[in-house]
């Protein structure tokens, strides 16, 4: 059974008086443990698709299907969507999106705080241990107390990956994770992601226009003008 399943998924944005259709009916199915790369030009709707899959945005109300583990994402209420983002999905963004006032360790553990709420205090030691191990395995063991501004782009992205992984999500959604990095650093980031996916058997959907990254995926889908070719 597919972990992610979409059918006739559409999204239109209203820009002033103009309606801009971004997704025009996407049909996609992703199996558990599969690594899918979505390729496409800028403005083709790649990131929008990722946001819909991650429950960050809602598709147009129409005859469509958007399922995670056979559960309709669009049928979830606000609390269920929050829970879905907390436990089932890990996001990695092109521009890292770390919280500038927090240090590296806090940027990772904050995702666990949103998951456990007030119960986090009883799990603090366990979570911090796991976050430290993750960060050490990413070569950031000596940067735990550093702020994002003190890190390089590659280091920031590794922190963002650790944050995406800390709650053990079944689905990793990465939006051009190497798009802001040089080739060598980007390759290192991809290696980390692939290593983790392989070790923990996670499903990964990566939006990219980097053919080298796409070549490492189990499957490549191309999105052109809002539909998958």
């Amino acid at each position: 059974m597919a972990l992610i399943q979409t059918a006739n998924l559409k999204k239109t944005y209203q820009l002033g008086h103009v309606q801009v259709p971004v997704l025009r009916g996407v049909n996609l199915s992703v199996q558990p443990g599969e690594f899918v790369a979505i390729l496409g030009a800028s403005g083709s709707g790649k990131s929008t698709l990722l946001h819909l899959l991650g429950g960050l945005d809602a598709p147009d109300a129409d005859d469509f299907k958007l399922l995670f583990d056979n559960r309709p994402i669009n049928g979830m209420n606000a609390a269920q969507l929050d829970q879905y983002r907390r436990t089932d999905v890990g996001f990695v963004f092109q521009f890292y999106h770390l919280l500038p006032e927090l240090n590296v360790l806090q940027n990772v553990t904050i995702a666990a705080m949103t998951r456990w709420g007030w119960a986090f205090s009883s799990r603090r030691a366990e979570v911090e241990k796991r976050a430290t191990e993750l960060l050490r395995s990413f070569g950031l063991g000596d940067r735990l107390r550093h702020r994002p501004v003190e890190l390089s782009g590659g280091e920031r992205q590794r922190v963002a990956i650790a944050r995406a992984l800390i709650n053990g999500p079944r689905l990793i959604l990465a939006d051009e994770p190497t798009g802001n990095l040089d080739r060598k650093t980007g390759a290192g980031i991809i290696d980390i992601l692939l290593e983790r996916r392989k070790a923990e058997g996670r499903t990964m959907i990566v939006v990219t226009h980097d053919p080298e990254l796409a070549a490492k995926a189990d499957r490549v889908v191309r999105i052109v003008s809002g539909v998958i070719e």
Binding site: H51, G54, L56, D57, A78, A79, D82, Q83, Y84, R85, R86, T87, F91, F93, H97, L98, L99, P100, E101, L102, Q106, I110, A111, M113, T114, R115, W116, G117, W118, F120, S121, R163
Partner: protein, 520 residues
């Protein structure tokens, strides 16, 4: 949990909200200081005003005859603990340095008056063993038994008499408000010391006066009135000074002179005299036509003794009864009394009204209402400033949330709920409120507690005397913080901070995650 972490981080990394918090603290301090001083002013006014007002009074300025009978009836009432007869009038007093002052002259019987009000406690010159709390150097002259015979002065003051210098017989004397003569100066520690006064001699030289007023005499000038309220020949009477009193209300201490009731009755022509039958014309002065022994001096026919009169009866409530209970009882008793002495005393309808029988609060109502209104006005102005401070927090939070839009998007992307985001900003506002209010309460407490020292320092250093006792009645600024007021101010301060954060918090909560993540 993440709310606590981010609130803590924002608190230590963002200066602007902390400045707003300091602003809120200053507003809180401002409100509490003003409330404490104005509220304290009102409380002091009420408690000090009661010193000589009793719980209720019966007033008839032209004089209540047969007052002894009325007192007997009043004291038999279970609501009334004690009654003192007084004459309350106005006059002019000549002081030892030849100054003339308009004063309120009150005729009392020292001991009976002390049963009703705290007259004996108000007497200032008396022997004391314990120094006043701030008089660490024990400079209060009353602590020194060799300075004056304090016990004799106190006893003279209670009896309103003094031994005559020549005969040694006790003669009527006056007890004067301590601020009237200008012969004493109040130290910051609260005690009074005598200051030297001088008066010119006819030959142009200067005579230095004895330091203490109780070693001098004053001259009372009074215009008596008859039972019909008509003014009569002015009377002048030199009286030795027995002592001085202090209530703490500057206006009372500056303009009141106590004398013996019997003496004032005599000066006011309100003592017992022979009565006369009205002449056909109706216009006569009985004191020009009747000899002191009651015999007729002309064509006026005497009718027996006219009883002595007093203008006021001061009543104290019995334990467990309120001033209103006393007032009701007084009116009931007066009705019986007026019935019994029909024709010779004011009728019940003349007395049983808000002008005739008053509780102490009714007596002071004009002043109290004015102070209450002034307090309310000033407080409302400062509360308005605090609300402006709340708007300041709103503006700062609004700006911060604009700056933090992307962070909010990140938090939503990792599963933070709308309620969680809103809660974070509201708790941040609440913490800023708590910090500001704690700061404000501390500051207000320090200022109020030391307000007299601060005022004195401003006076000495900058010549800035904001609190003029001639304007504000008291020689000391009230310096107590009412815990209930502090609680209200603290609650409101935190409430305003939370209020200021609610709208920005709602805005943050309803930012769409995708919009927030794309925010530049």
């Amino acid at each position: 949990m993440y709310q606590l972490l981010l609130t803590r981080v924002y608190l230590t990394s963002k200066i602007m909200p902390l400045l707003a918090s300091v602003g809120l603290g200053l507003c809180t301090a401002l409100v509490l200081v003003v409330w404490s001083v104005m509220g304290g002013f009102l409380t002091t006014l009420l408690s000090s005003g009661r010193v000589f007002a009793g719980d209720a009074t019966i007033n008839w300025p032209a004089g209540i005859p047969h007052y002894e009978a009325l007192i007997k009836k009043l004291e038999a009432d279970p609501a009334i603990g004690a009654v003192a007869p007084i004459i309350d009038t106005f006059g002019v007093v000549k002081l030892p340095d030849d100054r003339i002052e308009g004063v309120r002259i009150v005729g009392i019987e020292g001991k009976s008056y002390s049963r009703v009000v705290d007259f004996d406690k108000a007497l200032w010159w008396r022997p004391i063993k314990e120094a006043l709390p701030k008089d660490r150097d024990r400079k209060d002259p009353r602590l020194n038994p060799d300075e004056q015979d304090w016990q004799a002065i106190y006893e003279n003051s209670i009896s309103l008499t003094k031994p005559d210098r020549v005969t040694g017989e006790r003669v009527p004397a006056a007890v004067v408000g301590i601020e009237l003569s200008g012969m004493t100066q109040r130290d910051g520690a609260g005690y009074y010391t005598p200051v030297g006064l001088a008066k010119p001699r006819p030959d142009g030289s200067v005579q230095n006066l004895d330091l203490y007023l109780h070693n001098h005499q004053i001259v009372l000038n009074i215009i008596p009135q008859d039972s019909q309220g008509r003014l009569m020949t002015p009377t002048s009477k030199p009286l030795p000074v027995a002592g001085e009193f202090r209530t703490g209300i500057f206006e009372i201490d500056r303009r009141t002179v106590f004398v013996q009731l019997a003496e004032l009755q005599r000066l006011m022509l309100m003592d017992a005299v022979a009565g006369v039958k009205s002449s056909p014309s109706g216009a006569f002065n009985p004191y020009e036509n009747v000899a002191p022994d009651g015999t007729s001096l002309g064509n006026v026919e005497t009718t027996g003794a006219t009883p002595a009169r007093v203008s006021t009866l001061v009543l104290r409530a019995e334990e467990g009864f309120t001033p209103d209970d006393v007032r009701q009882s007084a009116m009931r008793v007066y009705t019986e009394f007026a019935e019994e002495f029909r024709g010779s005393v004011p009728q019940a309808f003349q007395i049983n009204n808000p002008r005739g029988v008053k509780t102490w609060a009714m007596q002071m109502s004009t002043l109290v209402n004015a102070v209450e209104k002034e307090t309310a006005l000033v407080l409302s102005l400062f509360w308005f400033i605090t609300i402006v401070c709340s708007a300041l927090i709103l503006a700062i939070f609004w700006a911060m949330i604009s700056e933090k839009t992307k962070d909010i998007g990140i938090l939503r992307a990792i599963g933070a709920s709308r309620a969680g985001i809103a809660g974070m900003w509201i708790s941040y506002g609440a913490i800023l409120g708590v910090v500001g209010v704690a700061l404000g309460l501390g500051l207000a407490y320090i200022v109020v507690l030391n307000i007299n020292s601060i005022h004195d320092w401003l006076g000495y250093s900058l010549g800035l005397y904001v609190w003029d006792p001639r304007v504000y009645y008291f020689s000391k600024i009230p310096d107590r913080v009412n815990p209930a007021n502090a609680l209200i101010v603290a609650g409101a301060g935190i409430g305003f901070a939370v209020l200021g954060s609610i709208i920005p918090a709602m805005r943050a909560a309803f930012i769409r995650p995708v919009t927030a993540l794309r925010f530049e």
